[in-house]
């Protein structure tokens, strides 16, 4: 494949990484020059309170291939990444962390996979250099759970080092803290996903921005994404299935009540009508919610390009 015409954008969200900026740029420029592509480096300063922005201004003065975007406050990694992705001009977009834990030397291998025809290539931090109990174990559990819930089998959802075809990533809805779920969300648009092992270095500067409290939020996000992935294309079917289950339970209860009524005692145990009422009520509610969900997706589809559709390559 002819790579000389294609452009590669490398997007890096930064939060209080003033020591990392200069070495990161040196490593990246070194790796990117060997790609044989035109490249640009997009740093997104996510409301840093240290000298990160000053470092970027100085860097920009030396190297015109560097672009820098500064956000008004700290909006979170997903927002910063989304900002950089939408600002990128290349056909191929690489994202990575700004903390020097990812190795830019892996970028050529990611791009090789893209050239093979994949739309999203994820890094897998095979020998991860982090604290065992606070980072590695929760991450292992989370990865297994996400893989199981979303049906997208990857080993490492948390690794930021990924490469995308721009058209694939730019149509993925990215909001809140969903960057972890990009692969799962990308499958919604029909993207092909691959995974390769990448090097991982221990942290040299600054502090980690993760803590265990986040795990709870990640868990909630996980449930949300798995629901979205499962029923985003056919909400009415999802809700109608639930409604039919609940209606069946109600009907069984009505039938049992009837048997009690015509039986020798001529009375109905109170629990049966209660469950019947519950079942009918829920069935009605679920069908209505299903309709609303369908309506909401339908208007979204009419408004812009379809959300759930195979990519045209």
């Amino acid at each position: 494949m002819n790579t000389s015409q294609s452009r590669c954008s490398i997007v890096i969200p930064l939060l209080n990484e003033q020591e990392s900026v200069v070495p990161l740029h040196a490593q990246l420029a070194d790796a990117a020059d060997r790609l044989g592509m035109v490249w640009e480096l997009i740093f997104v300063d996510d409301g840093s309170r240290d000298g990160t922005w000053q470092q970027l201004v100085a860097l920009r003065a030396q190297d015109r291939r560097v672009r820098a975007i500064r956000l008004t406050r700290n909006f979170g990694q997903t927002a910063a990444m989304s900002c950089g992705i939408h600002a990128a001009s290349g056909e191929i977009i690489v994202t990575m962390d700004g903390d020097l834990q990812n190795d830019p030397a892996d970028i050529p291998r990611l791009l090789d996979k893209i050239q093979e025809g994949y739309d999203v290539v994820c890094g897998w931090r095979h020998r991860r250099q982090d604290k065992l109990w606070s980072r590695k174990i929760p991450s292992l559990v989370a990865n297994r759970l996400i893989a199981w819930l979303t049906g997208v089998k990857l080993h490492d959802y948390g690794c930021s080092l990924k490469a995308y075809r721009a058209e694939a990533i730019q149509r993925v809805p990215l909001y809140a803290e969903l960057h972890r779920f990009i692969p799962a969300l990308a499958t919604l648009t029909g993207a092909l996903i691959a995974e390769i092992t990448v090097t991982h270095h221990p942290r040299r500067f600054g502090r980690t921005k993760y803590n265990l409290w986040r795990t709870w939020r990640v868990l909630l996000d996980m449930v949300t994404v798995s629901l979205l992935v499962k029923f985003a294309s056919k909400p009415l079917r999802f809700f109608v299935t639930l409604a039919v289950c609940s209606l069946t339970v109600a009907l069984v209860c009505v039938e049992r009540s009837w048997e009690w009524y015509v039986g020798p005692y001529h009375r109905i145990p109170q629990i049966l009508p209660s469950i019947a009422v519950l079942g009918v009520w829920l069935a009605g509610h679920l069908v209505i919610v299903g309709f609303l969900a369908e309506l909401c997706l339908r208007t979204a589809h009419n408004r812009s390009e379809r959300l759930v559709a195979p990519l045209t390559l």
């Binding site: 975007i69 956000l71 700290n74 629901l227 009422v277 919610v289």
Partner: protein, 323 residues
């Protein structure tokens, strides 16, 4: 949320400052105001315009607007076809404004026009939004108490130190109003939304004009609508991005409680052989299950709505770019 401020083109020959005045039924003589603005602003800024938005305020207003537009060259007017409320008037005024700095004035002059330079000065020092804070207040009794209570509640709910949300005299870069959608009665909360989007803002204490009291903003009937405004605010600032986090939690806990109650009833019926049909607990359990599933599914619906529109909602605000 609005187009990207960075890509916005500057209009050639545009004045620097646009003063927007939404005109309700109560206002001072407009020609006098426009002349006073002329006197005040001409030495201070590089060109200005005054936009009067006549929100169907009546014949007297209409005559005054016509007089003002004919006598003051900087003044333009927009007339709304029917009474549409201050927020819409404001949004339409902002749409037609050409300046880089927007000043919203209250035509009843709670705050003297002479205080205007105080509001413009911080904008030159990098602020994005400057709000007037009437201090000391001239209202008395219940009205003052209600107003202070409202501000305190908003402060507590949002953790953003606002002191006077009811004063509409504000000066801002136009990016702020382009980025933040104001509708209904939400223009009151502009500083809160702006602060949450990362804009730099401040309040400037200005004396309230003697004899100019707020009427109607805090009569007892409006308490309910102010209260619902605060709920909207809480909802928009805290939960709008993750409806399922909020509703899902409430729904799931209600569902689990109901399930626990009903399981314990089934246990006593099946294992202990006690009659349970007459116990109100059964009804409570059923109720909690229904409510739980309803709330959670509405949360899912909200999440779906956000999800499908996420590509249009910009989650972030760009301060500057080096290209």
């Amino acid at each position: 949320m609005g187009d990207n401020p960075v890509t916005r083109q500057r209009i050639p020959n545009a004045p620097e400052v646009s003063v927007i005045m939404p005109l309700g039924p109560r206002h001072e003589e407009l020609v006098t105001i426009c002349h006073a603005l002329q006197r005040l602003l001409s030495p201070l800024v590089n060109g200005f315009e005054v936009i009067l938005v006549d929100d169907c305020a009546g014949a007297l207003t209409r005559a005054q607007v016509e007089a003002a537009t004919s006598r003051c060259p900087e003044t333009r007017a927009i007339r709304l076809p029917r009474r549409m409320g201050e927020a819409i008037a404001l949004a339409l005024g902002a749409q037609s404004a050409r300046g880089e700095i927007l000043v919203i004035l209250d035509p009843y002059l709670h705050v003297a026009l002479e205080e205007l330079p105080k509001l413009l000065a911080p904008l030159r020092n990098g602020m994005d939004l400057v709000c007037a804070w009437r201090s000391p207040r001239r209202e008395t009794g219940l009205s003052r108490l209600a107003s202070n209570g409202f501000n305190a509640l908003a402060r507590w709910l949002t953790k953003i130190p606002v002191h006077d949300l009811n004063c509409r005299v504000r000066a801002m870069r136009r990016q702020v109003l382009d980025d933040i959608p104001v509708y209904g009665d939400l223009h009151r909360f502009l500083p809160i939304f702006a602060a949450r989007r990362g804009y730099r803002w401040c309040e400037v204490p200005v004396p309230q004009q003697p004899g100019k009291q707020e009427v109607g903003a805090f009569d007892v009937r409006s308490y309910l609508s102010r209260f619902s405004d605060l709920l909207t605010l809480l909802f928009l600032t805290r939960f709008v991005k993750r409806p399922l986090h909020f509703f899902g939690l409430i729904g799931t806990s209600s569902f689990l409680m109901g399930l626990a109650i009903n399981l314990s009833l089934i246990y006593s019926k099946v294992v202990l052989g006690l009659p349970v049909g007459h116990r109100p607990m059964l009804l409570l359990g059923v109720l909690l299950i229904v409510v739980g599933i309803q709330i959670a599914s509405i949360g899912l619906l909200g999440e779906l709505l956000i999800f499908t529109h996420a590509r249009d909602l910009k989650d972030y605000v760009i301060q500057e770019t080096l290209e």
